[in-house]
């Protein structure tokens, strides 16, 4: 169990990247990017975890009980918000692409013409 979360982070990264590389639809590609980004959450989470620790919220819990790391959780919060913004912008780009070239297939996009 001690190294399983790290291996899970690598697996999520690889499977997300595989989805992006073999994608045939831009919206599918964006969703695989979201899976790719979630690999960083797992890595950060497992770095800060302490066995038997409580959540770093001390409402009703005595200050001084062993708790998990709050700094990596703050980083994860930022990460999740950035994921939402990246997906929103990429979906808007995919919409414009479909409007102008009438296809959503990455393979059918020709190089810059003209």
């Amino acid at each position: 169990m001690s190294f399983f979360p790290y291996v899970l982070a690598a697996w999520l990264f690889i499977i997300g990247l595989y989805g992006i590389v073999t994608s045939r639809n831009f919206v599918h590609l964006v969703i695989c990017l979201a899976v790719l980004q979630s690999s960083t959450y797992v890595l950060l989470l497992s770095i800060g975890y302490r066995v038997g620790g409580v959540a770093p919220v001390f409402a009703g819990v005595k200050v001084g009980t062993p708790a998990v790391d709050p700094v990596v959780q703050a980083l994860m919060l930022t990460d999740i918000v950035v994921e939402a913004t990246v997906v929103a912008l990429l979906l808007a780009l995919a919409l414009q692409l479909q409007k102008h070239t009438n296809t959503l297939d990455p393979d059918k996009l020709k190089a810059l013409e003209g």
Binding site: F4, V21, T22, A59, Q73, L77
Partner: protein
Amino acid sequence: MNRRTRLVFFLLSAAAFAGVYLWGLKGLPPVGHYRGPYGDVLNRVATYERHVTDVVTAVNFDYRGFDTLGEEFILFMSVVGGTVLLRRQREEEKSEHRDESLADQSPERQAPEASDATRVLTLALVGPLVVFGLYIVAHGQLTPGGGFQGGVVLATAPLLVYLAGNLKKFKQITSHTLVEVTEAVGAGGYLAIGFAGLILGGSYLRNVAALGKTGMINSGGTIALINLATGLEVAAGFVLLLYAFLEQTLEIRLRGGK
């Protein structure tokens, strides 16, 4: 390059990545044995120094407040970018008036009327949802929650109005200038609170407001204020994004069906 070459390239680099990653893993402690000093130091002093009980919010808005400022502006810029990308250009407006009759009057295109059960349930839930969102925003420094989480919960309240079929009301709520003003106030408010810290305390984003008693809702000084500003900004930003995505569909449905 064609698909096969791409796949082979990918498999090779995935193998190389796995190798380097496993080699780098040797330096990490096994999961569950957290070694680093910062987490323990913060857990011990945050409640005493800032009178807040949620250390993650304190880290987000006070100890690492500058990073959260950057993140909030990332959200702001992406809402601006999304709205710009999804705007209706002039030729689209002209062609829309022409093709509307062809595509939209077919029976599969008409969205079904919201049933009575849906309408009652969604409209009854709008009030509790707004209260719940405000509760999460306001109690960010006491219990898990905060500006971001509560802001997104608040932003889904107008969506319930759309699901209930009240299209005119939804358009009124989401396209109102107040939403844009709220977003600007939220983003600018964060900046302004930072400057107040600079003027009154000597460094940007220093916690200069009254710290209050631990466990009360006004504890934490500027943490509570920044929480509110972020909640406003995130809620208004997501409502704007929702409106940008739904704008065209809304116009068609308002013109055609009702």
